[in-house]
Symmetry: C2
Subunit: 322 residues, 2 copies
């Protein structure tokens, strides 16, 4: 259950008091870090250093090099932390090895995931926030810390990555207001958006090329189907579980009512993602094969050869097209 | 020369008086219309209908179907216009056939292009605005017209398209502030961003596939080169002059210092676009072949066979890589 706004404001205030009373902080980001957990961590690091605290930022996974600007200008001088703070970490399993390493405790947890396990001494969870980084903006205000360029850049990074550059449905007036405040504070919004959304690794570019090569159209272009096999991953050197924007490609083609992505999991196991436009119910199609999801996005798992699986799903989609 | 802010405010006020005094308006968008000229036109149409005026929106080019939501809820009942208003049209040539058809005159011109020819009786040009649509927001305020969902959607469309979804360097605090105001007024920001930036035609998807197939890397991945030939355009059925996001693809690959796009213009004429990262001067590379541009983006034209042209440019780039 999300807290009410007054409870969140009280939580932010309590968090501010705790942060002012501490001296040497370890701020933890979740494993396989994204822009929100890292942006929130480095924003909080900047806020704490602004008021003379010692800080370190930790993550059990390697931090991708494109985030290196987040730490620019920070001292990160804490070597023996006494206070442990988690940002954007919904559950203990997402700490990776750090939960045990840091003594299995968390003093303060700041997050926006509705599913958060509230495992900390003080948990401040605002599920209405587009990103955990939004809460760092509120924290800076509550602590009377002026927004430096480093803090503004870090908060903006969290917000823009968690909203898909202001595209996802979690984008709201508060998100744009935060953008305004951060731009006024000197955040390099254009540079950050380019860096986060326009840069690809060679493996990503290569898997995208192979995926585009695989697109087939059926039912007079109303159904598009894209396949990513294990061989293609091998060829591209791309092993991420998440296909990123590739999974959304088939539905993005004009005129397509149902976009299908087939992702090979093993020799004879295939994960099917369905994305549909209004009027075609993805949930019903997936339901035929024991899958689930929502009206516009659903999924299921099919077994057999790639050809068998492809035929089965194309046939099923045909029954649902308008 | 851009006007000073006080002059712009005065211009907006004068424009508001003119609009209140008229009765039947023709609002003109520029040829090959984009989201800003159309968003501004339909926003102004909504503002004028809100205060009981008759309006029509005209464009000498066909309006792409993805913009159809802009007119939702409007009457567009003006058949014999008496006042002519141009939005986002920097020069008379961009009216296409409508300049003559409408009698070769313009009563009010609202734009944000610094190069605007100021050909109207009253020209309000604010080159500091991210989009002409921003000026519609100021106009609505000056005229005391509340923002309906239709007006808010139209203004948001202009702003997001002209800033590349808040990515281009013309994005500033005012842009985000406008986003906040429009989201508060009920603009469907997420839907619009998806529609404007995620949908592709089959020809666009196909030319992207072929373009990705053509990417080559040189100098240990520090230079990426992408080619779009006339044959490829033919095969994809893609004839737009503008390659859209394709031209930016080579530079987007991690580790690439210089991205090159070769666009075939005719049998033996090739347009070269160079995009570089900090440390490699695109302008100097293009200058060697009589081209021009900026440090990060420049271009030139080369003649010969594709193979000759490719060799020439790759060799030149090699001299400038760090």
């Amino acid at each position: 259950m999300p807290l009410k706004m007054s409870e969140i404001a009280a939580g932010i205030k309590e968090a501010a008091e705790f942060l002012k009373s501490g001296d040497c902080f370890c701020i933890v980001s979740h494993i396989n870090p994204d822009g929100d957990t890292l942006g929130s961590a480095y924003a909080l690091a900047g806020i704490l250093e602004s008021i003379g605290k010692q800080v370190q930022v930790r993550c059990a996974s390697p931090i991708p090099p494109r985030y290196s600007y987040l730490a620019e200008g920070l001292k990160l001088s804490c070597t023996d932390p006494r206070q442990i703070v988690a940002v954007d970490i919904a559950g203990i399993s997402l700490w990776g090895s750090l939960w045990e390493e840091l003594g299995g405790r968390c003093d303060l947890l700041i997050d926006h995931h509705v599913s958060n396990e509230r495992y900390a001494k003080l948990s401040v969870i605002d599920a209405s926030a587009s990103a955990t980084a939004i809460l760092m903006l509120e924290l800076a205000e509550a602590m009377n810390v002026p927004l430096t360029k480093q803090i503004a850049n870090a908060i903006f990074t969290g917000i823009t990555t968690d909203t898909g550059c202001f595209r996802y449905s979690n984008t709201n007036a508060q998100t744009f207001e935060a953008g305004m405040i951060l731009a006024q504070a000197g955040a390099e919004t254009s540079m950050i958006n380019k860096l986060m959304f326009e840069t690809k690794t060679r493996a990503e570019m290569e898997i995208m090329r192979l995926a585009l090569d695989s697109i087939e159209f059926h039912y007079e272009g109303r159904c598009a189907i894209l396949t990513v096999t294990l061989d293609m991953r091998e060829q591209a050197g791309y092993y991420d579980e998440d296909l990123g924007e590739i999974a959304a490609l088939p539905r993005r083609v004009e005129g397509v009512q149902c976009g299908i992505t087939i992702k090979q999991k093993s020799e004879d196991e295939f994960k099917i993602s369905l994305r549909t436009v209004s009027g075609v119910n993805a949930y019903e199609i997936a339901g035929r094969f024991g899958g689930g999801g929502h009206a516009r996005a659903a999924g299921c798992t099919l077994y057999g050869s790639l050809e068998e699986v492809r035929e089965k799903i194309i046939e099923a989609v045909g029954d649902f097209l308008s």
